[in-house]
Structure formats: C-alpha cells, structure tokens
Amino acid sequence: MSRHFGRRRALAKTTLTFRAGQVTGLFGPNGAGKTTLLGILSTVVRPTAGEVRYGGATARALGDPLRGRIGVLGHDLFLYGDLSARENLEFFGRLYGVERLEDRVAQALASARLDDRAHDRVASFSRGLRQRLALERALIHDPRLVLLDEPFTGLDDESAGLLGERLQKLRAAGAIVLMATHDFESADGLIDRMIALRAGKVREIVPDGGSLRDRYRRAMAEEWA
C-alpha cells in the first residue's frame, strides 16, 4: 500500500505481513511514516493505493466488527480528562461490548496499578499514570491486533517492565503486536522482529547480532532503494 498527503509521500508501496504471536518493533526517524502505518492498520486512515488484508479479508469486507478486534494506544492517549480512570474504562468497555465489564475493569485497574486512584479524574494524573491507564483502555476488549505508538513514553523503569510483561502475555495469547518506538533500550529483548521506516520506505532489519540501536544505526547508514 501507499499513502500520500497531498504531494508528501508518507508510505511508498509498502508490503508487510504480520503473524499471530509476534511482537514487531517499528523504528524510524520522526516523520518516517510510522504513525501513518499504524493509522492505516487501525482502519482510520485510508491508503491512497493498495489495501490491508486482515486474515485474508479487507477492512471493507469485514465491516465495523473488525475494529472490535483492534486495540490502539495512540501517541495522544484517547482518555477523557474530566472522567475518572474507572469511568474511562467503563465507557470504552461498554462501547466495545465487553462482557462481565465490572470484573474486567477491576482487572484493568489492577494491571495499571491504579486501584487506589480509580475514582480520581484522569486530568489529575501524571503522564506516566495516564500512559498506564491508556494501555489498559486499548486492551480492555482483548484485541487480536494491538497497535502501540510510543508505549514507553512517560513510564518509569518499573512500569516499563510491567509493559514488557504485558507484551509477553499478548504474544503468548496469539495477538499480533506492532509497536512504534524510539526507545531501543526498553524494546530490546521484547520484540521478535524489527522493521525500519525512512521517508515512507520500509526495510526489515535482520537479527544479525548487536543491540537494537546498533542494528538500526547500521540500517540507517546504508543506501535505501
């Protein structure tokens, strides 16, 4: 698929396949097209050319229920500041038709370690607390395709470790996880596959030894066709 915004090319003739139980790291400089790719996969951005197939069918063929199997953690956190943590989770849980919602919300609050702040307004939370809540909001409906844009932003070491555990569980549950990040240290050891983007072009980075950062730098130093 390709995506242009006016004369600017955000993605150029990109072909990728993501498999169940695989965590893919998406790396690239600012403006490389990472958020556009996540937007297209989440169905809110339409490709200019080409199409995305979800298990063989297009988004158009699968219709609205497809979005119920996709979980998105955006760079903006998709949370209502005037609502409490619990109210945010309950609202989105209902919108996604989550069964046994009360139990699921309690579980999500526990995972985010926000049990004691459940009734506080989200506007009063620090960026790290909002990030933890936003991750639970994105996962409240147990999505099959998980799209994470800069999930480590604002997280302390312990929270980043918990996010890592969460990714392992998603992998074990057979979810497809795609994570755009600039945080090589946090992502190291968590991802199964590394993809780099530059000026809308995609390149798979093979695991040929070295840290994620070193492999990324080598890939960026090379000529891209």
Binding site: G39, S42, T43, V44, V45, R46, D64, P65, L66, R67, G68, I70, V72, G74, D76, L77, F78, L79, Y80, G81, D82, L83, E87, F91, F92, R94, L95, Y96, G97, R121
Partner: protein, 226 residues
C-alpha cells in the same frame, strides 16, 4: 452493539463530562442571556418591543450559543484525540454522529429553557400563548441547526481555522432553518397570532430536519476517514 445503544453511550458520556466541568453550560448560557439583554436595550422602548424583534432575537441567541457549544464540544474530543478513539470503536460511525448530536441537543434545550422566559420578560413576548407549538418550533429548529452543525464541527475538528470556518460554513446552510424558526415564532408572538402559519413553518422545519439529518448520516462516515 446497536447503533442506537452506542449513540446513547456517547451522549451519556458527553453529558457526564459536561456535568463535571459545566464549561459549555455556563459559557453558552451566559452568551445567550447577554445577547438577549444587549438586544433588549436596542429594540425595547418604554416596555414595548419592535414587532417581530422577540422572535428574531430568540433565534439569534439560539444560533450563536449553539455555534459556541458545537465548537467547544468537538474541541474537547480533539484535546486527547478521543474523537479518533470513538471512530476506532466497533460501532457504526453514524453512532458517533448521533451520540454527539443528542448530547448537543440536550445542552441547547437547557439553554432555550432559560432564554425563552428571559425573552418573554424583556420583550413582553407572549411565550405562554401556544407553549407546545413554540416548543415544537424550537425543537425542530434546534435539531436542524445542530444536525448540520455536528457534521461540520466533526469535519473541521483537525482544521487550523476551525473556529472561523464553522460559522462561515454553518450559517449559509442553516439559513432556511433560522428563517422558518423566526417566521413560525413570529406568527405566535404577533399581536394577531396566526397559528396556521406557525404550523406551516413547523412543517417546513420538519422537512428541513429530515433532509439535513439524512444527508449528515449519509456523509458522516466518509468525511471522517483520513
């Protein structure tokens, strides 16, 4: 989940957010009352208003305060990109439109409940002469205005000049709604009321509502795609 249920969830969420912040209620109400008050100094002399002024001012206050509410309601959804989160939900996208519209209608109705008695007081308008007919005109007019406004406000949510563009796009399209509202209300408030004329204008408003809301439902999903 059904479209209606999703729409109700979104409307309920909007009202809960508003109940917490009271930002829209206070600002639109203050603006509408201030608008009516300023016009009353110009159009009321020795306790007598110029013919037709009360109906015109009522609809000017509804349109201006409604525009303010529309802009702010979607500004809230822009702040944390929550509009995108709503569009990512597995509900039909028209549910987002209907939910936002329902929340705005409740808010605008609350403002109208306050400004109608203020108009009655300051302009000596006979607001109790045909209360149900007046309520129907206001309800139908508000639906037409907010129906178009919700679509445009959603479309403009990512535009840089959205505050300027919203009234520029909205007022020309909703002119028929405002005219029908003013003429229908004027027919009730006139020294010699003409209820048949008011009912005829109401029928026209219902027709506009059907056309505008149908077109908005039809176009909302495609225009929200990026």
């Amino acid at each position: 989940m059904s479209t209606l249920r999703s729409a109700l969830l979104i409307a309920r969420k909007d009202l809960l957010v508003e109940a917490r912040s009271r930002e829209l209620a206070y600002t639109t109400l203050f603006f509408a009352v201030a608008c009516v008050l300023v016009f009353s100094f110009a159009f009321v002399s020795e306790g007598k208003a110029i013919d037709g002024a009360a109906a015109g001012i009522l609809w000017v206050a509804v349109a201006f305060s409604g525009t303010l509410a529309l802009g702010r309601a979607f500004e809230r959804e822009r702040q944390s990109e929550t509009l995108r989160a709503l569009l990512l939900a597995p509900a039909e996208r028209t549910a987002v439109y209907l939910g936002k519209l329902a929340g705005l209608l409740v808010l605008m109705a609350a403002v109208e409940i306050v400004i109608v008695p203020v108009i009655g007081l300051l302009f000596a308008a006979p607001i109790g002469r045909a209360p149900w007919l007046l309520a129907a005109l206001l309800g139908a007019g508000t639906l037409g205005f907010a129906g178009v406004g919700t679509l445009f406000a959603a479309m403009l949510v990512r535009a840089h000049s959205r505050d300027v563009l919203l009234p520029v796009l909205l007022y020309p399209i909703t002119v028929p709604v405002i005219i029908a509202g003013v003429r229908g209300t004027g027919a009730i408030f006139a020294a010699e009321p003409n209820f048949d004329a008011a009912v005829a204008w109401l029928s026209m408003l219902v027709f506009f509502d059907a056309v505008f809301v149908t077109l908005a439902l039809w176009t909302f999903a495609p225009v929200m795609e990026e």
